[in-house]
């Protein structure tokens, strides 16, 4: 009740009493979260749990960016979607479900292709949709208004495009990925740490890969990584704990084992975040059309150019 004093509404106090009770988190960080803006790019296996836990945890503005429609083969790992959503646009279906989780009177839904800035309004939850997906033309505009961006996409080209846009707009990027029984998680371009291109300078040519169609994924693996992406995004937004900036977590569900590796620092020669960045218009365009999750999850692709 006394938490209203910090600026939380009565509804927010009732809803978020448990996180407010965590001493090291508390009402001040909860308030900060309620007044912040997060963008989820890719609302699939990673984006489903990430968007869900960002919503229930109380983020003020949630952006959803995806051009894809729901396929029957998505359902086993994308619990945002109902059986009857098959064939419908993912973002519209996600809005429908996420809206049910919050107070209807507090909900605001915005369609947006541009970069207009949204204010967070105390006691409200806004969802903004970007239904064209991420393209070279819109990437900077799409990320510009958010405080943190979650990379929940499923193909290397979109991941590099998103990295470059986040560097140019100065946004921290929570990177998650999963294939088979394994998952990876890190935070790029945050607190002086490296970006994706500092570690892996160029995307691989997924098309040169001939084993991709053999690759699948178990649903709980992106489930786990997606929840952890929400966790790292919330840590970034509230300046809480130690994020995975400069560290990469690798998880293997087969024996429930993870390790967290120390990464190199920001690379001064990086084409994206380095001291003399390359003109981004010369950087990669994401694969046009519908990227198959299986093709995109290629994990043993041959590089298009030798090292």
């Amino acid at each position: 009740a006394g938490w209203c004093g910090v600026g939380l509404t009565a509804e927010e106090v009732a809803r978020f009493s448990r996180p407010c009770l965590v001493k090291s988190f508390g009402p001040t960080r909860q308030l900060r979260l309620c007044r912040s803006k997060a963008l989820v790019v890719g609302v699939g296996g990673l984006g489903s749990p990430a968007a869900t836990y960002l919503t229930t945890s109380g983020v003020g503005v949630l952006g959803l960016c995806d051009f894809d429609t729901v396929d029957a083969s998505n359902l086993h790992r994308q619990p945002l979607y109902k059986r009857e959503d098959v064939g419908q646009p993912k973002v519209a279906c996600a809005v429908k479900r996420l809206s049910e989780l919050v107070d209807a009177s507090a909900l605001r839904v915005h369609k947006s292709e541009g970069c207009d800035s949204l204010e967070t309004v105390p006691g409200t939850f806004s969802i903004r949709t970007h239904e064209s997906g991420l393209t070279r033309d819109n990437a900077r505009d799409v990320v510009r208004d958010y405080d943190v961006v979650l990379d929940c996409t499923d193909n290397p080209r979109t991941r590099y495009l998103l990295n470059d846009a986040c560097v140019l707009e100065g946004k921290p990027l929570v990177y998650g990925a999963s294939v088979g029984m394994e998952g990876q998680l890190t935070v790029y371009h945050h607190n002086g740490g490296p970006c994706l291109r500092c570690i892996f300078p160029e995307p691989l040519d997924a098309d040169a890969c001939d084993v991709c169609s053999d690759t699948g994924v178990l649903g709980f693996v992106p489930g786990l990584i997606g929840v952890m992406q929400a966790q790292e995004a919330i840590k970034v937004l509230t300046n809480f704990g130690t994020t995975l900036s400069g560290r990469m977590l690798h998880y293997d569900a087969e024996d429930a084992r993870q390790f967290v590796a120390k990464l190199r620092g920001r690379r001064p020669g990086c084409a994206s975040c380095g001291d003399s960045p390359t003109d981004p218009s010369s950087l990669d365009e994401p694969t046009a059309g519908k990227a198959s999750a299986v093709t995109a999850s290629c994990k043993s692709a041959v590089p298009s150019t030798p090292a």
Binding site: S178, V179, G180, T215, E254, R264, S297, S300
Partner: protein, 105 residues
């Protein structure tokens, strides 16, 4: 003389090595090195390259005399860029991991 290393493969790279994710490798010390110096990452890569049975698998992990782009090399859970790269010296009991970057979602 040989150096005993724990070598781990992730992200599909284990498929090249009989699907073994965690292996123990005994790498012969080269003549130019004294036993106390251990072996270099360069020597380990050569040692592993010889174990790849199918020639078409080599390019999934190696490119020239180093690893291919998209593979992160960790020496005792630290990016090898911080430990000396291909010249990193390894000693008995060290752990080396080859982590293939994942992109699926």
């Amino acid at each position: 003389m040989s150096t005993r290393l724990f070598v781990e493969f992730t992200g599909g790279l284990e498929a090249i090595f009989d699907n073994q994710k965690q292996t123990e490798q005994h790498v012969a010390t080269e003549s130019s090195q004294t036993p106390q110096e251990g072996v270099s990452m360069r020597t380990l890569l050569r040692h592993l390259g010889k174990q790849i049975k199918k020639p078409q698998d080599v390019q999934l992990m190696l490119a020239g005399d180093t690893v291919r782009p998209g593979v992160l090399v960790l020496v005792n859970e630290t990016d090898w860029e911080l430990t000396g790269g291909i010249d990193t010296m390894l000693n008995d009991g060290d752990c080396v991991a080859f982590v293939s970057t994942l992109h699926g979602g």
